[in-house]
């Protein structure tokens, strides 16, 4: 009952000094709001990247050339530092874990047709590619083995190219010009969206490897070999096996380091996640500092308020308030203010991250854990930074406090 009455007194004092209350809470509001928004951004980016990596396809290994050439030490003349069709063929023939294998070669070029022209990248791939990448078609079909073997002039468009060149119709059956070579559009890929760093995955066209090499770009070498396994459990063994095959294919002696790199999805996502984790931590640190500043703001205003209200404290003590009563009153005031500020900050944070989510197209869900932590933290800020001023008030001598001014 007494505690309840003291809370009421604190509440009245908070309401009576609206401006002071608002200024006190502002730091906490901004601090908590910032923490929630920043954590939401960090987690949004993280889940975005995870989704992206999932998008690459399941059970996938990516072989890239020459990253083992660490420290810039040049390798002997025996090393190619390059991927060749033979490497892919050898994996196809010898690996027992590989379900599908696809070379990937890139060429950047203009595609002319339909509504005009569009600059994009054409990937030369094999028939295994859509399975490895887990990438379906929204229209038409993929090229088949015979088209691949003979290097037919067929093209599968990514969603972005399809939209830009053929905004009003299905591009399947249309003919486009690539470096003056007429090519038939036989399919359109399903949209995959953007990567975390803003690359449009759909701004791409696919053609058979041979077609790209022979007809479009006689100097394009293999940038990647993609391999998928039958099951995710096979990944470690597959990685070992393919490593051995690649070393043999490149004729590396036992003492020579790999001149290629094989990464699985986990390693890919680890690299990406490492970056976002650092980002999240950094954002959280910045936000925490603003929360700390908010807390100091509370202490500052409470201290001023103790001085300003010395007479009030004196009156209360003169009519029988104990030091503890005064302490409780001031402590409740600062806790109520910081929790109120925390609640407003949560509202701000939720609104802010929802807004960010809708403008950036991110899934920025605010999780309950962050909210609970924010509330507990702001209450703690209230107690911690409210205690010193409250104790200062409680220690006042009634007669001195009454004489103050």
């Amino acid at each position: 009952m007494r505690a309840f009455r003291l809370i009421k007194v604190a509440g009245k004092s908070i309401i009576k000094n609206k401006m002071r209350t608002l200024l006190t809470m502002l730091g906490i509001i901004i601090g908590v709001g910032a923490v929630i928004i920043m954590v939401a951004i960090g987690e949004g980016a993280q889940s975005q990247i995870e989704e992206q990596i999932q998008n690459l396809g399941t059970n996938m290994l990516v072989i890239t050339p020459g990253a083992a050439n660490a420290g810039g030490v040049s390798q002997g003349s025996g090393s190619f530092n390059r991927l060749r069709g033979e490497d892919a063929d050898k994996i196809r023939n010898e690996s027992i874990y590989a379900a599908g294998v696809s070379e990937v070669i890139f060429t950047r070029t203009q595609i002319v047709g339909g509504a005009g022209n569009w600059r994009s990248t054409i990937h030369g791939v094999t028939t295994d590619y859509p399975i490895i990448r887990d990438w379906d078609l929204s229209s038409g079909r993929f090229f088949d083995a015979s088209e691949e073997r003979t290097g037919k002039k067929v093209l599968i468009l990514g969603a972005t190219i399809a939209e830009n060149l053929f905004p009003d119709r299905d591009p399947v059956g249309e003919r486009v010009l690539v470096r003056n070579v007429p090519m038939d559009v036989i399919g359109v890929l399903e949209p995959k969206g953007q990567t975390a760093d803003g690359n449009d995955q759909d701004d791409v066209a696919l053609a058979p490897v041979l077609t790209v090499q022979r007809r479009l770009s006689n100097w394009s070498f293999i940038r990647q070999i993609l391999v998928n396994t039958y099951s995710p459990d096979d990944i470690p063994e597959a990685q070992e096996e393919i490593k051995a095959i690649m070393r043999e294919s490149h004729g590396l002696a036992a003492w020579e380091p790999d001149d290629f790199e094989i990464r699985n999805q986990e390693q890919l996502s680890e690299a990406a996640q490492g970056t976002t984790e650092v980002m999240t931590a950094l954002l959280a640190a910045i936000a925490s500092i603003s929360l700390l500043v908010g807390g100091i703001g509370i202490m500052n205003i409470m201290l001023v308020s103790v001085t300003e209200r010395t007479r009030e404290i004196g009156i209360r003590m003169a009519i029988g308030a104990r030091g503890g009563d005064v302490l409780t009153q001031f402590l409740i005031e600062s806790i109520v203010m910081s929790i109120l500020g925390g609640a407003l900050g949560i509202a701000l944070g939720m609104g802010g991250s929802a807004l960010l989510g809708s403008t950036m197209g991110w899934a920025t869900a605010v999780n309950t854990q962050t909210v609970v932590i924010a509330i507990v933290f702001s209450a703690a800020v209230g107690i911690f930074f409210g205690f010193y001023p409250a104790r200062k008030a409680a220690k006042l001598n009634p007669i001195d406090a009454l004489r103050f001014e």
Binding site: R2, G320, A321, P398
Partner: protein
């Protein structure tokens, strides 16, 4: 200690204020005993130590030396919390200069001491505060804030606050300092009434007009008691009746001419 049943027993109390190298001897060895049911006026020139003595008696301040017993308890030896409780329960203090909370209504000011009453003797704080305000004639002003009240009304809120806990001792430092003559008599009538009910009252004043109504007068000079007399008090109730009658008569005499002035204007 003596076997007296005095409520207040001040012995050789001194109070020295040190301000840098300057020492102010506000009280220089005061001896005073107050029996239950007394109505005592402390008089003296400004700076003679009246408020200093009142603050010590009220448990707001400690003496520099000497002892002070309240109801047989040595107040100097009490802890801060015990002292706070005594200020709350036993003593109703009317301060020189009201000391009301600003931006807080009369009734909230009045019920404030009940908030700190650990024995919780009043269930309904609002009701107790309202009764106390009615007692001092402010029943219609309960929701007014101090800045919306006249000096005399603020003084009466301060008195209502002192009375709300039903204290056995009321200490009032210049309770009529801001009041006109009629209100002064009204307040003194209230104190006499309370005194008749058995409340011990000590008030500070430097007006003989006020001291007339006390049963005993103690006079201070430079921190020493120079006079301590007992007297037959005048009745404030009678004076008030006479005052009102005189006023009514004066009003009756002036009313016609006033009306004429208004008409002429």
């Amino acid at each position: 200690m003596s076997e007296s049943n005095a409520v207040i027993q001040v012995r050789q109390v001194t109070k020295t204020y040190t301000m840098g190298s300057n020492k102010v001897h506000a009280l220089q060895g005061v001896d005073m005993e107050v029996q239950p049911g007394e109505l005592l006026a402390i008089m003296g020139a400004s700076g003679s130590g009246k408020s200093t003595l009142m603050n010590i008696i009220g448990g707001l301040d400690y003496p520099t030396s000497g002892s002070y017993h309240l109801d047989g308890i040595e107040v100097n030896k009490l802890s801060k919390n015990e002292l706070a409780d005594i200020r709350n329960h036993k003593i109703g203090f009317v301060f020189q200069g009201f000391n009301l909370l600003a931006r807080t209504s009369a009734i909230e000011n009045t019920e404030l001491p009940l908030l700190y009453d650990r024995q919780n003797r009043h269930k309904n704080h609002r009701e107790a505060a309202r009764k106390s305000l009615e007692r001092v004639g402010l029943g219609e002003r309960v929701d007014h804030h101090p800045n919306e009240l006249s000096g005399g009304q603020q003084q009466r809120v301060a008195i209502a606050r002192a009375l709300v806990t039903n204290p056995s001792i009321v200490l009032a430092d210049e309770p009529t300092g801001n009041l006109d003559s009629q209100t002064t008599v009204e307040v003194m009538q209230l104190f006499q009434e309370l005194n008749d009910e058995g409340v011990t009252i000590i008030l500070v004043t430097h007006e003989d007009e006020v001291a007339r109504y006390a049963k005993r007068i103690v006079e201070l000079r430079d921190g020493n008691i120079i006079k301590d007399i007992t007297q037959e008090p005048d009745s404030a109730a009678d004076d008030l009746k006479a005052l009102i009658a005189r006023k009514a008569a004066a009003e009756a005499a002036t009313t016609p001419s006033e009306t004429e002035t208004v008409d002429a204007g």
